[in-house]
Every structure is written in C-alpha cells, then in structure tokens.
Point group: C2
Chain length 496, copies 2
Amino acid sequence: MSYDRIKLKSLLDKVITAEQAAQLFENGMIVGSSGFTKAGDSKVVLPALADRAKTDPLKITLITGASLGHGTDGKLAEAGVLAKRMPFQVDRTLRGKINSGEVLFIDQHLSETAELLHNKNLASVDIAVLEVAAIEADGSIIPTTSVGNSATFAALAKHVILEINTAVPMEIRGIHDIYQAEDYPRRNVIPIVAPENKIGRKTIALDPSKVVGIVFTDIEDSPADIAEPDTKTTAIASHILNFFEKEVEMGHLSSSLLPLQAGIGKVANAVLMGFKDSNFRNLTMFSEVLQDSTFDLIDAGVMDFASASSITVSKPCYDRVFGNLDKYRDKMVLRPQNISNTPGLIRRLGVIAINTAIEFDIYGNVNSTHISGTNIMNGIGGSGDFARNAYLSIFVTQAASKEDRISHVLPMVSHVDHTEHDVDILVTDIGLADLRGLAPRERAQVIIDNCVHPDYKEQLQDYYDRACERGGHTPHILEEAFSWHVNLRDQGSMKK
Amino acid sequence: MSYDRIKLKSLLDKVITAEQAAQLFENGMIVGSSGFTKAGDSKVVLPALADRAKTDPLKITLITGASLGHGTDGKLAEAGVLAKRMPFQVDRTLRGKINSGEVLFIDQHLSETAELLHNKNLASVDIAVLEVAAIEADGSIIPTTSVGNSATFAALAKHVILEINTAVPMEIRGIHDIYQAEDYPRRNVIPIVAPENKIGRKTIALDPSKVVGIVFTDIEDSPADIAEPDTKTTAIASHILNFFEKEVEMGHLSSSLLPLQAGIGKVANAVLMGFKDSNFRNLTMFSEVLQDSTFDLIDAGVMDFASASSITVSKPCYDRVFGNLDKYRDKMVLRPQNISNTPGLIRRLGVIAINTAIEFDIYGNVNSTHISGTNIMNGIGGSGDFARNAYLSIFVTQAASKEDRISHVLPMVSHVDHTEHDVDILVTDIGLADLRGLAPRERAQVIIDNCVHPDYKEQLQDYYDRACERGGHTPHILEEAFSWHVNLRDQGSMKK
C-alpha cells in the first residue's frame, strides 16, 4: 500500500479491500464508473462485484465513460449484474446478452451522458467507482489514463469508491484538464480555441465526505490490440492521404490540415501512420482517444499536440509514454468526454473526423453500430459527436469481407447512425467518394463508381437504375432495400 | 423610387430594372439568394429570371437561406432554371421536379450551408440577390425580415444584386445582429450566452464594388398560412404542456423553462399558444423562425425575448409587428442562420427543440423529409441542428392521417433524419412517449403504449413481438420492416 498517495489524511481510514468495496453496492443502484476505451477503468472493484454477485445476486445500471478493459464488462454480464448499461461497450459476452435482450443497453453519443446526468434527464448516480493516481490534500483526485465521465460522477454521485492505482506514475499529474460547463440556465462559453488550450483544474474536485471506500491496485490498463496495416487498411489510408494532398494543393487546407479526430482501430492507425512519411507538418489532434500512432507522430516531429479523453495504447507504447511523461507532458491533454467531444468545440476548431462504418449506402447514410439492423456491435461512441459537427466528416470501411460474401456498400443501410446530411467523404479499399455538394442521385453514382467491391458493382448499379425508374429524390425499391441483408442471412452471401 | 434608401451615392447609378438584372445571370452560375421561410426573399429579380428563361433558357444552382415565398421556387422550376437547389424548399412544383429527378436538391442542415461555402467545401457563389431595406453610406446593407445566409453571400459572392424593398419600414434597422465566425484555423468563441445577447453589427458588410445592380420593389413577404388549432394539434400541444408542467414540478426546469425552438407549422403554433394561459413566465426563444405565436406571447407578457433568423407571420401580425417596431425592438433579434442554428450555441443555451416529424418508428428514429422513403416533402431544415444539440429534443406528428389509412408510427421509418440517439420525446395526438434513459426495447413498448393510433396498436405490437422472438438489441424483421409503406402503395392503406 502506498498510503502516501492519500494526501488527505482524514481519508486514510477509508482504505478497504476490493471485496469489502463490492459489498457497498445494492440491488437497483445506478453506478458510475471511470474508464474510457479500456483506459483508466476499475481494475478490482467492479470485478469483485461480479464475483460477489455469483453467490449474492444483484442488478445495477452501469454508466461508464466508454468501454472497459480486462473483460470486466463480460464478467459483470456473465454474473448477471448488469440490468442496464450505457453509453458504450465492446465486450463479446456483454454484446451477446444485449442482443438476446438480457441486458438493456443505451447507445449514446459520448458527449451526452454527462449532459443527461447534469440535467436530470437520467436518474441520479448512487455510487461511483473511480480509478485515480492519488488523492490530493484538498480531497480532489488525480485521474489516470482517461478522464471520461469521472468529473461528472465525482460531482453527482451520492457515494464514491476510489481505486488508487499505484502502477500509474505520479508524474501523470498535470496531463489532465478538468473543466465542466455550468448548469443551465447560466452556462458560459467553454474557452477553448485551439487543441492545446488548458482551461481547467489539474485534478477532479471531490467532496471527501462522499468517499465510502479506497482500494489499492497496481494493475495496468488492458493494452490496445495493434493490428499491423494490411492491404485494405493501407489502401484506405492511401486514398485519404491523397485526398488531403489534393485539398492542400487546391488551397482549401494548409499542410497542418485542421485538428484531426480518428476513431479507434486499425484503419485510423493506418491513416495516422501514413502522415509519418508525408509532407504534412505541425498536425494536431482534437479527438477522444490517443493511440500508438499519435505518439509515433509526436516522436517523428510531425504532430505538435493531441487532445483527447483517454490514452489507449499497446504495452510498448504505454511504457514509452508513461516512462517519459515529462517528454510528452506539453504535447497532450486529457479532458472530460463532454469537453473532448462537445459539438461546439468540434465546429469551432474545424475538426477533420475519420470514423469507421459497419456499412454505408448509395445515398451516404452510415451504419456504425448494428449487424443487419438488429444486433449491436459496439456502439456509436463519439462518431456522431464528431461527424455532425466536423469540418469534414469521413467514414471508412472495407468494400467487402468474409470472402466477399458481405458487401459493406449497400442499397440501404439496415440501421442509420449518421444520416446523409452528416457525411462528406466515404472511403473503402476500392476508392474514395467525395460527396460534398452532391444531391442524392449524384452521390449514388459516385459511390457505385468509386467505393463498391467489383463483385457487387453491377448488382448495385442495377438496384439504383431500377429504383430511378420509380422516381424520387432518393430513389429506392422499399421491398428490395434490405434484400442483400436477407440474402446473407438465408443464403450466406449478399451476392444475387 | 426611394433613392434616399441608397445612402452611398456612388451606387445610385446602379439602379436597374428587374428585367435588366435578370440579364446578369449566366448559364451554369451559382446563385446565392436571401430568403428564409418566405421572409426577406427576392420579390422581383428571381421571378424576372424565370420569365427570361422562358425565351432564353439557362440553368443555375440556387442556394438560399431556406424556402422562398410568392411561388418563386415554382416559377424557377417551371421555367427550367434550376439545375440544383439547396438547402431547403417547400414548393409543390419544385418538389415535383426534384422527385422526378429534373432538379437536383441538396437537403442540408440550415446551419451548414454557410460553413460549406466559407470552407470551400462548396463551389463559390457567382452572384447573390439580396433583399435589403436600404444601403448605408459605408456600402453595408440592412436586411429585411430575414437574415438567412445573406451575410455569407455578401462576403463571398463575386457580384451582388440588391433589391431595395420600400414596403419594409426603415425602422427595421437595428433588429438584426450580424456576426460571422472567423475562418479556420483561427475561429474564436461566438460570445452568446443568452438569447438576447447582441454581438455583431446592425448591417451586413458589403464591398460596394461587387454591386452590379440595384432594383427597387415594394412587395411584402408572402404571409404565413396560419391554420387554426384543431383537435389533433390541441391534443399534441396539451401533452407537451403537461410534460413541461411535470418537469417543473420535479424541479428539473423552472417556470421559464429554457430557450424554446419551434419548427414552423400549426403544431408548433398550437404549443406556443398553449403557453398563453399557463403558469409559465419569462419564456425566451432561440429558434430559426418567429411566427404569430411568438408575438402573441410577447404581447401577453409571457415571453421576454425571441432570437431567430426570420419573421414569418400572417398579414395581420405582419402589420402589427412592422407597424410597431419600437415596441418589439428590444424583444427580438434576427441573426444569420449559421448563428441562430449553430450547434455550440444550442447546447450552450440548453434549447428545448420542438419539431415536426413525417413519421417515427418504435425505436425513436424520425423521418422529417421523405414520403415512403423516396419522395422528398420539404427538407430537414434546422431540425437537425436543434434536435442533436438540444437540452430536450421533442418530435411531434399526428398518429394517423388520411382517414387513418396512414399510420405515422411505424415499425421502421423509411428515411432517417434524426437517429434514435437524438430523440428524447415523441408526441402524437394519442399521447407522449418519454424516451429518456430507455433502451430500444423499452422505447418500443412506451411508444406502442402511448403514441400509436388505436387502429394500428395491435398490428404494431404484433410486429414488435415477432421481431423480439428473433432477438437483437433493436429487434426487426427486415423483410417486413417497410411492409406498411408497401401496403399503402399497393392497397391504399397501411392496415393489414
């Protein structure tokens, strides 16, 4: 135990075990937890709660920043602890229980959960579990590798359990910028005009009387799975980089572009890595997650500054960053997700948003969440916060997958997360469709010409041509619109 | 002619006729025009252009604030002038030509057109036609009953034609607040923290050397069609007012609520009129259009201030407001639509957004634009700007129409403008569904229980129950999802 991480000595007697902490939860409670894209999550208390529930069943609503690491969501789901979960998850077991209807899931824009809680549009949080690096003498807390919704939970929860993670170096203090907008009707301007602006506190304010338990841990975040770029991701990245180069040539953008947001995953990593050997310089990020590529670009002198709500990196990158925090301290900031993802800042800064689609359709509607319209994959995450308000909204996906039995470019998406109104650029490994200034019928032809896998090109053109014969601003044949999904289900392939 | 409305004397020799102005357009030009919800539009130049095209054909792209009055869009469409139109329209003739594919239409969030133009994500404007009340000595112009995108067109267009409308009293000077955000990457804060804040100029800056023609008119705006509240709109309004009363009782809102936005039309008017005989006081609006009800509430002492981009009212209300501008001057402001509708301000102010749906589905997705997925009605307008960023996002529609052959509550909407992530409250004349904090399966039951017309309740429950048997986070039977629309087309009714 590193009791010196508890600077407010009156809290020393709150130290308990994870098992004791797990007893503080009651059936029906609404629980807020730190954790955003596997970073800064509860390492022992939530798992202990899952263990407790095996013999002493209870159900809770669990609200986090975003996804948790270490299979914790799966353990909780397996133990039947989760009645309701929001706003995001990536766990295979939990996903199965959501899709079977056992767990209720609310798939929410990541900027909005804190708003809903502050505005009492969601029921109030009974207890929060927050991973921290330390407790300051004033009772305020130092977050770890993510901020997520922790500032909101600290402010609103009736009770708080703190997990002090001694695996996180104390030098992390200062990389966070904790700012919360005022409650309505007296909300002021959020005074950020550049990614590097720091406008808040270094620590999260917390009323020490709320602390009902302090648990020590020394477990690192689950590492990010870094997939090496493959032919498809490299092709997608190359289309995007070529597009940016042309925009610079035309004088629409400078070689620093505008602040970048990149969704999590290998395509985003491939795009960002592409900047390394490019002519782009003095790049910045205003994103929600910092991945390995961010730090590679900083090391390469290509990126000047990165703002986000969490750091989710591979083990080697984790060691490099957290072993050299002084090197990176002035080049990054972690913010609450209702600041990192807030609509007004995204538009004010002119963010270029690059996010992954599950599928898109010929009119530019994007499905980010559902397999064949019914089963959720992960959730919308911050993609909606960014895409709607971005200077440029780019979505990427592979043209086809599963031995090309699935086309990701379709007559009609089976679930809409991003409407035709919010999508500027669509990219697959086949090519890029620039939809700016195009009406639906123009978009359709550009998408068919540039993005669809060759095996599906004729079939998609045929659908579109026959739809046009029926007319409409957005021509469709409603009884056929989902026939590709139905064919996949019934015949194992979307091919006719 | 009232040449005294041209204070910059060097422009006096630019006065021409509408017919002469119509000759300034060339085939292929991109034209920007004032006009927002029939207010402040070109009264003579665009109609003269339509006349010219009958014998001297040409095609243009026409970008406005929003819809035009006096059937101008129809005249232009009929004359074959429109190659492309954005970002909104409400004209029956134009709509027909869009749906037949003759005119390309881009249905855009009303806050975004100016952004796209400033960012060069749309081709540049060749010529702008702007209705003004007068030209100041510095060449700047006084808008009339709307601001729309006029400040953007004035800044970016290569050439400008001004229509001085002498039917608009000079006392209108001062009701506008013209502010434009800086271009990227040096955009600053938009310093509005309350609807009544005025942060800009009283007039629109204009380089006089751009002015290629000045035309005089004295034609008033097309009056708004004010439909008297009927049983359905009164029922919808009553559900919403009861909801607000409960929110106040629970302490979530004060009796001034938060700034209101209301879409155009009779439901919005009915809701606003409902406030007149209520306990709500010191209301404000932060909206895009001010309608009769706004001024009725101001007169009744119930509303303190209203911010928007246009005034679209009946003839009696027009005379009342513009004959007594000194009375209303401190109670209203008209802003550019990229300010009235900007995402950051909507969230900062905590706007309560009430907009009309064409149809919504059991999971809370809303279609605002398309009839049976293909034919556009008007366009998304500002509903997306507001709904996504609002404190509360409310959508209203009648439960059924056309002798109840059409249900507006459906298994799946045929076009998505507002996703499940962006919708808080759904209301029909049958009742109100509060979706806050509900997962998709919960939402479905609440919507079926509260909103659907009795004739369709069993049928909708049956769809949902059978979909649930198949499982999924968002249960659906894809091959049946649009069967209600297909039945309407083939059998004249959505009833099974």
